[in-house]
Symmetry: C2
Subunit: 487 residues, 2 copies
Amino acid sequence: MLFCNQGLPMSEPQEAKESLSESLQQVITLLEKHKLVEGLVHKQYMPKHDLVESMVHKQNIIELQKKLDTLHSADVAHILEALPLEDRLNLWELVKADRDGEILLEVSDSVRQSLIADMDSQELLAAAEQLDADELADLAPDLPKDVLQDLMDSLDTQNRERLQSTLSYPEEAVGAHMDFDIVTIREDITLEVALRYMRRLGSLPELTDKLFVVDREDILRGVLPLKRMVVSDLDASVSDVMVADAVVFHPEDIADEAAQAFERYDLVTAPVVDANNKLVGRITVDAVMDYIRDESESDMLSMAGLREEEDFFASIWKSVQNRWAWLAINLVTAMVASRVIGLFEGSIEKIVALAALMPIVAGIGGNSGNQTTTMIVRGLALGQISSHNMKSLVKKELGVALLNGILWGGVLGIIAYLLYGNYQLGLVMMAAMTFNLLLAAVMGVMIPLVMTKFGRDPAVGSSVLITAMTDSGGFFIFLGLATIFLI
Amino acid sequence: MLFCNQGLPMSEPQEAKESLSESLQQVITLLEKHKLVEGLVHKQYMPKHDLVESMVHKQNIIELQKKLDTLHSADVAHILEALPLEDRLNLWELVKADRDGEILLEVSDSVRQSLIADMDSQELLAAAEQLDADELADLAPDLPKDVLQDLMDSLDTQNRERLQSTLSYPEEAVGAHMDFDIVTIREDITLEVALRYMRRLGSLPELTDKLFVVDREDILRGVLPLKRMVVSDLDASVSDVMVADAVVFHPEDIADEAAQAFERYDLVTAPVVDANNKLVGRITVDAVMDYIRDESESDMLSMAGLREEEDFFASIWKSVQNRWAWLAINLVTAMVASRVIGLFEGSIEKIVALAALMPIVAGIGGNSGNQTTTMIVRGLALGQISSHNMKSLVKKELGVALLNGILWGGVLGIIAYLLYGNYQLGLVMMAAMTFNLLLAAVMGVMIPLVMTKFGRDPAVGSSVLITAMTDSGGFFIFLGLATIFLI
């Protein structure tokens, strides 16, 4: 029941008897059969024009196409994402051309690129022509330049302007996520007249939970929730029933804050107005959910040093490109740490136990620093950290670090003493752990704050930076203390 | 405009002229004034009953309370979260008692605990009595046992049953997230009659976008979107206009899959039915958004080894408890890696450069492994990875690792040669990097898959495990190769 047959436009998705993973399995089985037959043909174990083979082949394709027709576009998209490139393109060819546009919108960026690379200009143009201006805006960055130009030329003035305006906003702005499926109404009519007008319309866009009340110049006067429309007196005028001071957004507002407002105030749709309060579009909860999902995914990916979402079945070379930047940075920081150790080679030659113990100090410092950084990055994202509470935060983190340092440093000191029979080595271990944890605490708070100050996303790369600090710092502190007190 | 004044129930949130962070700043300023006056009184720089002081004090409190009254509960919750414990409790006392329940629902778990700890049974009971059964279920785990019992006794049978049933489902089930704000209707009446019935109701619950069509036994027959209600002919019957096969959920369905269905099919609300198709509740998009947000946050936290969301101003001791488990595990894995190095102390004594170079091999392996694991964890969460594509995934990751190993291993080998003038050391470096990256690739794919196989969340701890493998493995491979070829 978490699965949905393709409905008519405007209809609600339908319940089905099978789950999405079951459909995926069916499609794969059909594809395998298809490939098997194709394989036999190519390898010429069978004469190419063998009637039986050809019939089996055709029947497979028909079965697959039938299966695809019953699936919701979002589900076809999901299946395409889960297939290796070759299978994916085979299946893509079987999808009816009039659904191409919709499905391209649903797949992830990297998969979309792989599908578009397989289509010619004619097919792309046909697919794009089925879409609204706001949907085209999502597709546009992946289209070849000439196709995009042809597309622009084919649009009427209003839609061209809408597409251009949506494209002009950065991904972080509300304007990039708005759509134009707005139903407007005047405030001086009665609900009875309004409802008559609705019935003449015959249907409302997806997710419509309110009408936008505007005057002759399209200036927003308020919003009229359907919820109120159906419970209010028919003689009442729109202006009596409407909400005059609803939450509105501007195209240049920060999308992240809009998303938080949707969550806080449980919105389904909200009007987007320009500086003169003129209605220019709307923002819907599904655009907000997509945005939240994308943001949290890109945070997770960038924390692991992946530049962008990677197609599971991307070529090895593409994957290497996606990951190399982070590895290169990591290589540089590792080299620095290595040179720090190099400074103390004399000490290590004398007490070789130092070489075995030093990664512990560095490693635990890195982990502890990452815990602090994660907390701060989260607090910054939620707007809970500002100058007024920074001092108490740093104090708390230093306290935690001191306690952990003495506690775990003590445990490690005892272990070092037991292993190497040198109590001074144990004391150096404990002191180094404590100092490195304190360093990790200070850096764990400072790095994301400084990155934010310079207008950078603190989720990207703060983990590399903190690890670089605690590695080099940990080696320096431990080997330095050992050189002073033990050699 | 991303900010909202407290509206009447059922009203839409209102636009305001100031942002949330501005309100936060105002409240802080007022609190500081308040504290300053209090401080002067306690330190007795002023006579305690000084008329002027007392008036200033009172005026401050009145101003603060006025400010709070204009704020939406979600915004008050946000401000409480951003305040250190003492200020938070001061502010909490000023919040009107009849808003306590609502605000407790909005704050994060850890902040809720700090507020509840400050309230007596009487206050808690009064706060809880303002809430619906589904809201109580969110609050219940944090309430003292005796308060919960008193609360249960005070509920009527229907609400007690609802609360108990909601509490009986685990956090991962749809049942734990449903609410009971359902409006039902019979299928054999006309829309005109239905609308008359609506108008008699006078108002509809938040987020109502559809009515649930049921028969006499509460068996779900379909759903009637308001969107259809306002555009359809008044003479049509409910059964003609309703959607008979809408997406429905069962209380025991997995919440994660329900969330994906909401995203895929752009739902606002959906009915929850039992095994006999009897309507038991509904699930709304705001519950789904909260769930998505919570999940992605807990993934992020658990990847950094934080057991749960931490109150920024929690005591040092509480924070140490939240973080210690991970640090303890990390300590064990670091000790293992240290003992691996200990095996090769003889080799390090002979070639001390090994000590300086070994953390590079281990560190880059760890990073690369974490990239792979993050990709796999994400693919598992999206349902894109299953047995049919595992082989091609492992092959791809091995290819990436091999390429990276030869590339970066080569660079490092050259650097090692330049630093130490020993070309054999450079070759060992390159070989060790390549092998450790291959190990990281295999482990990066296997660890999350094996964890999922054993029914565990792959996001929790897979990063520790992979780092443990690449650290110990990296040291062993590098020092082992060096011992064989260089000593």
